[in-house]
Symmetry: C2
Subunit: 364 residues, 2 copies
């Protein structure tokens, strides 16, 4: 087995604080079997108990079930609920032979399935949990990379000293937690300001997502002004939206365009009122993620980028007394900040061309 | 997908009486994913809910866990127990890339694991359940068959009209249920008599094992007299015992020998008192199983064979007031009945050279 798989497993075990007598659920597609093996070894070492499941949010068995079922009939599955309730920790491993496996699943069925599983998902999120990625050939393909090059990419992004990452990112959290107004400029296509006053910034250093590597908060919904060109592709419901452009007035999108699949962007914006406002501002800080790979678990942590999400804000990024943007959507979109760009906080530039104020080379 | 896989799945669904709202657990190794897909399709069709698990009694993850754990620490896993308790039906699919995957697992660890899971196993056996086989390459290899030839073998043995099988086998159950003494002769190496008086005979037509295809009962423990040469190989704890020979007096093995690995046979017999007595007499009736494949799920149902098990008798094969043989062992061993052989019940020959009294060609 590739030794990087055992290292990956160690990082997951640390992230969930694996300990004796823990009842651990591991969910993975067959293509990720090596990582399941490595995790089972650590679970055995720890005196804990594994229960290994096939993924139900991708892959051929789930696709077969979703196509066959009648969404009217959906009931929350009792065996899955009982298992999640009884477990102490939950590891979900993504990984695909073919990322289009749900390409002929009716979106209505999928939505009904997700509604039926909502309580189970909430229960799972109340446990120790981690969501991670195994480098499957389908994931490599959509990134337009060979399987071996993609393996290198995934394990470079994951296998690192996460406590050092935590300390590094804490410097940006400190700046953002004190911030009133954030101003983001990239080339002559993005120039946007927003208030984050009173909203906490979260340090994502590997407790729930692996790879981690971002800090994120919520803009005050009505405060956003200006325009943004999301120059990294947006992949939504199987459609690729290129060069999505939005202009905000009083926090609301009043103009939008795209170079490809503009109708998809329009559809997102028309979902509900909250879908026309921002719910998240995130700053990608994982420089081992040095390319866009059509996988949001990686893309949103990419170094030298910021992302903004149209739609719902996370509860823990909204300060007491502040408004939480509500929506059925939460659509992340990414702006390249590597060149001709800066982030300004309360009048002070804190990142220029991707380099932070607390890093060597800032101001060169 | 091979259409025989969908047919196999239909047969499993029938065997567990799959119905709306059933919470179904499917346990399978990754090599059997096609059958998991086909079952998930039927589970969706039925309005039931699947939960797909990796096997924990074979395969690489289970081996990694069993080697890493300390068997002193074993506790019954709460998440697995909760899931089994909450489920309505349970399908266990065997299938191997490599049947020797547990070759370097300490038998003590495996035994401790099985002890920790005993209550969960009992709970599972109280549900609707089926145990079946997917034709993995490792299973083909130990049978010394190509993968394709082995696939034909497996699906020929499984994909058939099981209600017709039930009716055919019922004729032999009727004979055995009325029987007092059974006398089995094969060549000049096997000549044994035993009482089955008062012990019910079970018709195995596919409710729990797939393939099915045997009828079986329990001998009265002290009644067995004579000698048996098991001329099909016995595979026990990774050792192949050839031409196992036993001689019974008053039901007890008083002499034994083997052409290869006699020590393994000795070890089985020395486990406890019950291991020196018979716990089962079975008659294989599935003629599509026409060869020995080192897989007891198939071998014991092979046409033109009988099998006897040293050790524990199944409770439902012991009549009220009769003694149930008790042992930690239950080791099935097989005698070829295709030539120069007969089964005599209360003085009447009911099978000669593999052909039953109720079949064409009997007496030719």
């Amino acid at each position: 087995m590739d030794p990087r798989i055992r290292e990956h497993a160690e990082i997951i075990a640390n992230s969930i604080d694996l300990g004796a007598d823990d009842d651990v659920v591991v969910v993975a597609p067959p293509v990720a079997e090596d990582l399941v093996v490595a995790l089972n070894e650590l679970i055995g070492d720890a005196g804990a108990n594994p229960l290994n499941l096939y993924t139900h949010r991708g892959g051929r068995p789930a696709r077969a079930f979703l196509r066959a079922c009648d969404e009217e009939d959906f009931s929350p599955p009792g065996h899955r609920a009982a298992m999640v309730e009884a477990c102490d920790a939950y590891v979900a491993i993504k990984g695909d032979q073919n990322v289009s496996e749900f390409g002929d699943v009716d979106p209505e069925s999928l939505a009904a399935f997700q509604r039926a599983h909502r309580d189970i998902l909430d229960e799972r999120l109340s446990k120790r949990w981690n969501l991670t990625q195994y480098p499957g050939p389908g994931n490599a393909q959509i990134a337009e990379m060979s399987t071996e090059a993609y393996e290198n990419f995934v394990w470079d992004a994951i296998n690192k000293d996460w406590e050092a990452v935590r300390d590094h990112q804490a410097q940006m959290v400190e700046i953002m937690d004190a911030a009133e107004e954030v101003h983001i400029v990239s080339g002559d296509t993005t120039d946007v300001t927003m208030s984050v006053a009173g909203n906490p910034t979260i340090n994502d250093w590997g407790k729930h997502n692996m790879p981690a590597g971002e800090v994120f908060t919520a803009p005050v919904p009505n405060s956003v002004e200006g325009e943004v060109l999301f120059d990294k592709p947006l992949y939504n419901e199987g459609k690729e939206v290129l060069d999505a452009y939005v202009r905000f007035e009083d926090g609301e999108v009043v103009e939008h365009a795209a170079a490809k699949n503009e109708a998809t962007l329009t559809q997102i914006l028309n979902t509900d009122d909250g879908a026309r406002r921002l719910g998240e501002l995130g700053i990608g800080m994982n420089r081992d993620i040095d390319r866009f790979t059509y996988n949001m678990l990686f893309d949103e942590k990419m170094g030298d980028t910021v992302h903004m999400a149209l739609g719902r804000a996370y509860e823990d990024t909204v300060g007491e007394g502040n408004e939480q943007n509500q929506s059925a959507q939460h659509v992340d979109m990414i702006v390249d900040m590597s060149e001709d760009s800066y982030i300004e906080v309360d009048g002070e530039i804190v990142q220029r061309n991707g380099t932070f104020i607390f890093e060597d080379g800032f101001g060169d």
